[in-house]
C-alpha cells in the first residue's frame, strides 16, 4: 500500500456542501473566520459556494448568498486574500455563463462542474468556456456507484479530448467500500492517463476519511473535505483529519480546531449532519439520501426499523 501523500491538495467544501444542510445560512463573519482558519491551516482551496444563477433555480429567494456567488460581494467578504484559493461549483443547466467574469477580474480561481454521467458532454462544454476565461477546472461525475462501466468508458473518451484539469471520483451516496474506491481509482488512472484526479467522499458508512486517504495514497491529488465533516446528510471527509494526517509540513490543525470550537459546535446544535442511522441505511442500499433527509425532518426521525423496512420492501424500494 502506497502511503505518500505529499502531492495532495485539500479542497474544503464546508460552505458549499454544508450549505445543503442549512440552506447556505452562514453569516459573513462565519465565512470570514473559516477563510482565515483555512488559510492559516495551509488548506489549498476553499469552495465558498455555488456559482449557479438564481434565475435558473426554483426557491432561490430563501437561500443565503453562498448559493449564488457574486464577485462584488466576495471582494467585500474577503478583502485580504491569502494563499488559500477560492473555488465555486456549478451545476449543468443552472449556471448562466454570462455571470462568469474572466478570472483576472474574479476572486475565484477554480470552477468545478458537477454532472451526472449522461451530461458529461454538457459539462465539458462549460469546462471549455471556464478554461478559456482563465480558470482552473474540474469535472465532478456524481453518483458513480450507480454508473455502468460502458457509460463510464464513453465518458472517459470525451474527457480525454477535453481541456479539463481534474476529474473527480464522487461517492455521492457514501456507499463505496475501500475495495470499490481502490477499483475506481485504478479505472480512472487507466483510462485517463493524462488527467489529474480528485475525490469527494461522503461519510454514510464512516469511510469518507479512509477512502480519501486510500485515494491519496494511490496518487489522487485533490481531496475534498469539510470542517467537522459538515455536508449534506452524513457529511464529508473531515478537514481536521486531512490536515493532520497528510504528509505535508505546511498543514496545521490548530486553526481548524479553533473554527470547530467557535463556530461548528454551536452550529451542530442547530442543524444536523454526520453518521446518523437513516443515512447509514441509504448508504448501505447505495441510494440518494433524500428519503433519509425527509425522515429526519419528520416526527418519525428515529424510527429506523420502519424506514429500513420501507426501503427494502420490494414494492417500496426506489430501484
Amino acid at each position: 500500500m502506497q502511503s505518500k501523500t505529499t502531492h495532495c491538495k485539500i479542497v474544503d467544501c464546508t460552505i458549499r456542501d454544508g450549505g445543503l444542510v442549512n440552506n447556505w445560512d452562514f453569516s459573513v463573519e462565519f465565512v470570514q473566520h473559516l477563510y482565515n482558519s483555512l488559510n492559516e491551516a495551509g488548506v489549498d482551496y476553499m469552495e465558498i459556494g455555488y456559482k449557479n444563477s438564481p434565475k435558473l433555480l426554483k426557491g432561490a429567494d430563501s437561500a443565503g448568498p453562498w448559493r449564488f456567488l457574486d464577485d462584488d460581494f466576495l471582494r467585500k467578504v474577503i478583502p485580504n486574500k491569502g494563499q488559500t484559493k477560492l473555488s465555486a461549483l456549478v451545476d449543468i443547466g443552472r449556471v448562466d455563463e454570462n455571470d462568469i467574469l474572466p478570472r483576472s477580474e474574479s476572486m475565484i480561481d477554480l470552477i468545478r462542474v458537477a454532472c451526472y454521467i449522461q451530461d458529461v458532454d454538457k459539462a465539458l462544454e462549460l469546462v471549455q468556456i471556464f478554461h478559456d476565461r482563465g480558470y482552473e477546472t474540474t469535472i465532478n461525475i456524481m453518483a458513480l456507484s450507480n454508473v455502468l462501466e460502458n457509460q463510464l468508458v464513453e465518458a472517459f473518451n470525451l474527457i480525454n479530448e477535453s481541456v479539463v484539469d481534474f476529474v473527480y471520483i464522487v461517492d455521492s451516496y457514501g456507499s463505496l467500500k475501500p475495495t470499490d474506491m481502490s477499483y475506481l481509482v485504478d479505472k480512472f488512472q487507466e483510462h485517463l492517463p493524462n488527467k489529474r484526479l480528485g475525490v469527494h467522499a461522503h461519510n454514510n458508512l464512516q469511510l469518507a476519511f479512509a477512502n480519501t486517504l486510500l485515494a491519496a495514497g494511490k496518487g489522487v491529488e485533490l481531496l475534498d473535505s469539510s470542517v467537522y465533516g459538515m455536508g449534506r446528510a452524513a457529511g464529508n471527509c473531515n478537514t481536521e483529519l486531512l490536515v493532520t494526517e497528510l504528509q505535508n509540513t505546511k498543514y496545521n490543525v490548530r486553526p481548524v480546531l479553533d473554527m470547530i470550537e467557535k463556530h461548528m459546535i454551536p452550529l451542530r446544535d442547530k442543524v444536523e449532519w454526520g453518521y446518523i442511522i437513516p443515512y447509514m441505511i441509504t448508504g448501505i442500499l447505495d441510494e440518494h439520501p433524500r428519503s433519509a433527509m425527509a425522515l429526519r425532518s419528520s416526527d418519525q426521525k428515529d424510527q429506523f426499523v420502519d424506514f429500513y423496512d420501507q426501503l427494502t420492501t420490494p414494492e417500496m424500494a426506489s430501484k
Copy 2:
C-alpha cells in the same frame, strides 16, 4: 487488495467496552434485548462484561454487575442461550482464577485476557488456566502503537509456545492509520504463523470500521465491534456496519437497527462516546484518551484549542 471476509466472526463488545462509558449501568432488560438482537442478527460472540474480581479492584461497589460477571446471575439474565456465544474479558492482576468455573458449568465460552506488552508472560499463564478449564482463549495486547518492535518479537516468541487460540491487534488509542494496521497484520501473520488473529479498533480518527475491514480482508478472523459504536471515548467499530458489509449471508442488520432505535439513541442522550474532538486530538497524538475524558467531564469540555496546546506544549506533554 483482498476482500474476502467469509472467514470472519464478530465479537460485540457493547456491554464490556461500553460499560467503560456508563460504569456498567446497563439494566438487565437492556442486556437481554441486546443479546436477543445480536443472536437474531447472527453475531458470533457477545462480550457481556468483565470477569474481574471485585476484591482486587478499587471502587468496585459503584459499578454495575457486568463488571464482575457471576455465573448464577448470567443464567438468570440469559435463560435461553442461542447461537451467539458469550465472552468475558479479564485484566492481569484483577482476576481471581478461583472465580472461573469449568466451562461445562459456565455460561461463558470465550475468555479474553487483556495486557500490556510487559505482561504477556502473565497473560499467557492465565490463558493456560482458562484453556485447561475448557474455554476458548485470546490474548489482547493493548497500546500496540506504543510498542517497540523488539518487545513485540519477544512477545511473539512466548505466544508461539502457548495454547492461546487468538491473538489480538488492539488499537487502544485509535491512532493507527490503514497503512499502520496493514503493517501490523503483516507482522503478526509473519511471526505467528500458527495463531489466528483478532482486531479491536477505536474510532478516534474515524478509522475503526475501515481498519477492521482492512484487517478482515487480510485474513484476520475475530472482529470486535459495538452497537452504535458504544465504547470508551471515541468508541469502537460499529456492529451495524460489520453485519452489513461482511460477506456472510447469516448476518442481518435489522435486529441491530432495532436495538439502536430502542436503546442506544436514548442512552446516547445521557452519556457520550464517538467522534468528539478531544478524542480525535489524543488519537492524532497517539496517547491514552484519559486527558480528553477528564476534559469532557469538566466545564471546559469544548475548549479544544487550549486542550490541544496543553498536550502539545513540550513541558505539558505526557511523553
